[in-house]
């Protein structure tokens, strides 16, 4: 079973849920797809046993062969190439690696070279296998790295994917082809607003979903009313508690100090399976 933990709004507790759930279930592989700001390794402190660089391909234009016809830059949907009368400029951060420019070049002047955009790290902690991606600072495109993390998925494991915040392409890449999505929200107007957008993404993708309300007790009841109206099951409430917040601030998963919660996460898994 592949479970994704997502939220829309940042800081609602995705990583808290993903990590504590991973520690509560058996035979888990945790994939941290928040490659811009991965945090699950901070809570799990895994021993890293493999680091793999991740590359994307970018065009290289041979000035000898190029006759500055401009077909490549006209074709490029991402404005990654600029052709002037006597020179060609490549903007590697804008390139999506579609390969179009080398296809359309009539002089075969374009080849491709690899460019590192980040790395994936694999490790193990407390019986949980973890894979996470780290986007190099200054790199714009997270999706190829998210795909590289997901390529490490093991089908014989209970897979938990920790998704990035937001509702755009990075979320779609993370949640695509997963069996179920847990939406973590907080009972505030910000939490509700971003939850609604995320629900729309999941409906478009056809991924079944349920909600975990974090920091329950804060805010208002509107998230509860919305879930009821939309028929989205409420899987769990995690109360607002200074103890949980304090444990998180020190990087301690709360099930380690409050083991009674393991049972609750197991129940969540059972409910999802049903």
């Amino acid at each position: 079973m592949i479970l994704t933990v997502a939220s829309g709004k940042g800081g609602t507790g995705k990583t808290t849920v993903a990590v504590n759930m991973a520690l509560s279930l058996e035979n888990v592989q945790l994939l941290d797809c928040d490659v811009e700001e991965p945090n699950s390794h901070i809570l799990l402190q895994p021993k890293i046993n493999e680091t793999k660089p991740v590359y994307t391909k970018v065009p290289v234009v041979s000035e000898e062969l190029c006759d500055y016809c401009g077909k490549c830059s006209k074709f490029c949907a991402y404005n990654a190439l600029f052709v002037a009368p006597k020179t060609v400029m490549v903007f590697p951060e804008l390139c999506h690696n579609c390969g179009g420019c080398s296809l359309v070049c009539p002089k075969n002047a374009i080849t491709e070279k690899e460019r590192q955009i980040g790395a994936i790290k694999k490790g193990e902690s407390k019986g949980v296998e973890i894979v996470y991606g780290e986007l190099n600072v200054g790199e714009a495109m997270a999706v190829p790295l998210i795909r590289a993390v997901k390529n490490q998925m093991k089908s014989n494991k209970n897979v938990i994917i920790d998704a990035p915040p937001g509702t755009a392409c990075s979320l779609v890449a993370s949640v695509h082809k997963t069996d179920y999505c847990i939406l973590v929200t907080e009972p505030t107007p910000f939490g509700l607003h971003d939850l609604k957008i995320t629900v729309q993404v999941l409906k478009d993708l056809g991924v079944p979903m349920g909600v975990i309300i974090n920091r329950a007790g804060l805010g208002d009841r509107k998230v509860y009313e919305y879930c009821k109206k939309e028929n989205i099951p409420l899987l769990l409430e995690i109360p607002f508690s200074k103890k949980i917040a304090e444990l998180y601030s020190r990087g301690v998963p709360f099930v380690e100090k409050m083991p009674e919660w393991k049972e609750k996460f197991l129940e969540v898994q059972d409910n999802i399976k049903r």
């Binding site: 829309g8 990583t15 949907a77 690696n97 937001g166 755009a168 392409c169 957008i197 304090e246 601030s249």
Partner: protein, 287 residues
């Protein structure tokens, strides 16, 4: 007159960017506010803009196969690097609109259709003008929409004779964040005193220095873990970054959010509001 531009960012989500930015809207005059978090925008929930102008944002294209023309040669599938074509069916979610399939198709059965990926808005609020947007759920090109939001803000700033633009940035350090900080005069990082918050702040500071943008830091909910707050102050000190303020934790911030008001307006005498006013005073010394 030169318009100055500040972006509020954080790396980690949910540290309080929008709560701080909304308060700055109240504390400043002749300022254009923007919400650069175009896929999960929240600033409008506090500033309650009245939309004056709506623009369609058409940036992305999606490939469509004409089944009648298709001869099922499979070349499109072979050349698509996004695995968006499977058994001659295009998955619009995976398609990045590059156009390779349409180019390679020997019978011209594939066309690229432009799609509306979102909307940009120019609005007025009781605190001043606002530029914001909404990306359609699951869309790409959030960075381009952020650039449009900032372009609109600059136009409004010139027209309305404003001297400052404050951008409420998105979380992360990728495409939309880069689009939110490129060329601004200052990045103000809101950090929470958790290990994750510190880790993400370091990456956000790295991003600002990569683009040679001066940075300031303020610690939100600093009293939730004072030991971590000291670590942040120490880290910033040894990296030449000034900590311009420390905001205490108080549930009144959530109350103000539920009331739909910036905290400095909802409860001007609260400790949180005073701390935000002070951090803004310190920030202005650098802008």
């Amino acid at each position: 007159m030169m318009v100055k531009e500040i972006t509020v960012l954080s790396g980690k989500g949910g540290t309080g960017k929008t709560s701080v930015a909304a308060s700055l809207a109240v504390l400043t005059k002749r300022t254009v506010m923007t919400d650069c978090d175009v896929d999960a925008p929240d600033l409008h929930l506090l500033l309650k803009p009245e939309v004056l102008e709506t623009q369609e944002f058409k940036a992305s294209r999606v490939a469509v196969i004409d089944e009648e023309k298709c001869v099922q040669c499979g070349k499109c599938e072979e050349h698509c690097r996004f695995d968006a074509i499977e058994k001659l069916i295009i998955d619009p979610i995976l398609c990045e609109g590059c156009g390779v399939c349409a180019y390679i198709c020997p019978v011209a059965a594939i066309e690229l259709e432009k799609r509306v990926s979102g909307y940009a808005f120019i609005s007025k609020t009781k605190y001043g003008p606002m530029s914001h947007a909404l990306l359609n759920p699951g869309e790409e090109n959030s960075g381009k929409l952020v650039s449009l939001v900032r372009k609109n803000a600059k136009k409004v700033a010139e027209k309305e004779n404003c001297e400052l633009i404050i951008n409420d940035g998105p979380p992360g350090i990728g495409c939309p964040v880069i689009a939110s900080v490129g060329g601004v005069d200052m990045g103000l990082i809101v950090v929470e005193p958790t290990l994750s918050g510190i880790h993400d702040m370091e990456r956000a500071l790295g991003l600002l220095s990569h683009f040679k943008i001066p940075s300031l830091v303020c610690v939100n909910k600093y009293d939730l873990n004072e030991e971590n707050t000291s670590r942040i102050v120490e880290f910033c000190g040894s990296n030449g970054v000034e900590v311009v303020g420390k905001i205490p934790f108080d549930q009144i911030v959530t109350e103000s959010m539920v009331a739909g008001k910036p905290i400095v307006e909802y409860s001007p005498e609260s400790r949180v509001s005073k701390a935000i006013a002070e951090l803004w005073k310190q920030t202005l010394k650098h802008v």
